[in-house]
């Protein structure tokens, strides 16, 4: 695609702003502080650790029906490969995409 890298005659606005160290650091610290605040805030609202008595009927269904409906005693495995196999298909596709991407990057040297 030619030498698109060439000279860059336009002014360095926008993107360039992010690379001034001090400013970037300040913004970064602010963002992180906000993030930490949000996470700390969330600690007050999530359910009590180790307490699963409310609203896990989906998981209960998996536990109760895993053996007779999928024939698998390992419930996690039956979820991964049977109840939610579409997700697993997607996951394998992600792996495939990553491999093709890596092949794209290194194929110059012929694997």
């Amino acid at each position: 695609m030619g030498n698109r890298a060439g000279k860059a005659p336009y002014k360095e606005r926008g993107m360039m702003k992010k690379y001034i160290p001090e400013k970037k650091k300040i913004v970064g610290v602010l963002v992180l502080a906000l993030f930490a605040f949000v996470l700390a805030q969330s600690l007050f609202f999530i359910p009590q650790f180790g307490d699963l008595d409310v609203g896990r009927d989906v998981s209960s269904y998996y536990i109760d029906n895993s053996l007779e409906k999928t024939g698998s005693a390992n419930i996690v495995n039956s979820i991964v490969w049977d109840f939610r196999s579409y997700d697993t298909l997607g996951e394998e596709t992600v792996l495939f995409a990553a491999t093709i991407g890596i092949v794209l990057l290194v194929r110059r040297r012929k694997i």
Binding site: L43, L52, A73, V94
Partner: protein
Amino acid sequence: MLAYIASMLLLIIGAYTLVMKDNLIKKIMGLSVFSSGIHIFLISLGYRAGGIPPLLTNLNFNQISAIMVDPLPQALVLTSIVINLSITAFAMAIIVDVYREFGTLNIKKLKSLRG
């Protein structure tokens, strides 16, 4: 509760590394730590006090869902780990190329894009 706090700390450490460090490898490490924080958080959401692993054996065959930990977050984490692995692997491959093209791993020195 400690598990939640630990996972939140991991999230913050990961986000800090991701945002503040300039070295690309460190950034990717931050990303991994960040994802691990999410994974630990998910797993601990599924913990039941005194629960047993979600495996059916002869010993626990009659005991049902009331005493097992939640298996669904574990399945989600299994999927998410693979996705995270793919991202990390691809990132490493591309960082090799970054080093070849630019001779540096410092993200501040990558300046071919602007405007």
